[in-house]
Amino acid sequence: MNVIECKNLTHYYGKKLVYEKLSFNVKEGSILGLLGKNGTGKTTTINILNGFLHPQNGECLIYGENTQNLSPQNKARIGFLIEGHVQYAFMNIHQIEKFYSKFYPKWDNAPYWQLMSKLQVSPKQKIATMSCGQRSQVALGLILAQDPDLLILDDFSMGLDPGYRRLFIDYLREYAKEKNKTIFTTSHIIQDMERLIDDLLIMDFNRVLAQRDVKSFMQEFKQFYLELDDPSVDISNEDFVINSEKVSNKLELYTYESEDTILNFLKNNGIAHKNFRQVKMGLEDAFIGLTGKY
């Protein structure tokens, strides 16, 4: 069953096209990461999903309801983390728990207080005076206490130091898998996503570059390194080349094709080279390989 269904989304800011006819689904119980460089439409997508933006064309459905008119019952099933872990900063941790607890029928404050016990904050300390890491734990604790079926997280890693990022991810993944929660998330730190997500959607300016499960993507998308005898050789326009980076005669080649196919191509076209090897990639390397460094 699809929890999120977005069909043919098209949006412009003025005359600038963000994307055209973007479609994607998020299956129940999966964790999907929306990856892309700045300005490729990640926050635009999150805003459409939360009903804070009308797309020029297309629609998004969450649990079968158009996101522009979500019913209160459906909103209660969605946990939403705003970029920067924004919360009601004029409240303290007791006040904010008291505030939210009345809205959600499944509210369970145990995970919230468990997280709060790890923070070095005084009971009356306002959220505004907490560090970014502490605020992230408050926001996460509130979402866990809400016990939503779907979590929408907008750049959860923003402003967090590595320790808090790891804490956030580990908590979240364990929680989601244990309780069969669905997560739709963005983050500009791709390494974090590698530990968290099952599926990925990689966006570039105006288009989708990849939309699949992380495991198969990491198996099929490859990086090869070789040193060309003739640095003027250019194979960047070949069909199988997804992206390439060349410095002098050193070529990094990104492709979905196998090592044999590449070697055969080089041989058949008489492209002399040396030190050919496949380079092991992490998700961040693969992301950069797919989207380019610029």
């Binding site: 939360n50 209160p72 909103k75 705003i82 924004v86 900063a89 505030f99």
Partner: protein, 224 residues
């Protein structure tokens, strides 16, 4: 759920509401200190004569003129500005409530606080007036201060509209509208001069109360 919304609003405005109420009480106290002073030093007969026969020189309730305006402005800013920092209003719109009803609940709570403070001040003012003046003069004074309290509500509703508006250009436009409308309530006028206009001003002020829904709608539509 609705109690929670009121709780959130109360947390934002409580100190500002107390300060406004305290300021209002100080102003009422000041008015009657002056009345007491004039009664003592001008003799009651002379004071009465000046009120009745020298061109409506009523006691100095004009000190009230800008107090409701300032109080309403401060309370509206305290209530709505924190919602716009980091677009925090998204949190309110994401609550399992109808978005318009949530905004209306916020507005009604703020307006109720203004009304409660106005009621305290008017009761205090009327009670103290009763010690010095007959009901005809008190009635005239109350009709004269009514537009100033109405002005407070108008400023509150317009501030909500302006602060929640997502586009600066429109904020500026609404500000110009506010700068045109608000002085209508504050014209220098003889006692009871606003009497014929009061019903119309009340209707106009009540109509303005829902203006913030338009800013909320524009925010949800994604205007930026």
């Amino acid at each position: 759920m609705w109690k929670s919304i009121l709780y959130k609003e109360w947390l934002k405005i409580r100190w500002f509401a107390f300060i406004y109420a305290a300021l209002g009480i100080l102003v009422v106290g000041n008015i009657f200190l002056k009345v007491q002073h004039d009664f003592e030093f001008s003799q009651a007969e002379n004071y009465w004569y000046s009120i009745l026969f020298q061109g409506n020189q009523f006691y100095e309730y004009s000190l009230f003129k800008f107090v409701p305006l300032l109080g309403a402005l401060v309370i509206a800013l305290a209530q709505y500005f924190p919602e716009t920092v980091n677009k925090r209003i998204k949190l309110t719109f994401h609550l399992p409530l109808n978005e318009n009803k949530a905004l209306l609940a916020m507005m009604l709570f703020g307006a109720f606080c203004l009304l409660a403070i106005a009621a305290v001040l008017v009761v205090l003012f009327t009670g103290l007036s009763g010690m010095y003046f007959p009901s005809e003069i008190i009635q005239s004074a109350l009709i004269s201060v009514a537009p100033w309290f109405l002005c407070g509500f108008t400023v509150y509703f317009l501030t909500a509209l302006i602060v929640l508006e997502p586009v600066w250009k429109y904020r500026f436009l609404y500000l110009l509208v506010a700068a045109t409308l608000v002085p209508i309530y504050l014209q220098t006028a003889a006692a009871r001069a606003y009497s014929p206009a009061l019903p119309l001003l009340i209707v106009f002020t009540v109509l303005l109360s829902v203006a913030l829904l338009f800013s909320g709608y524009r925010f949800r539509k994604g205007e930026m």
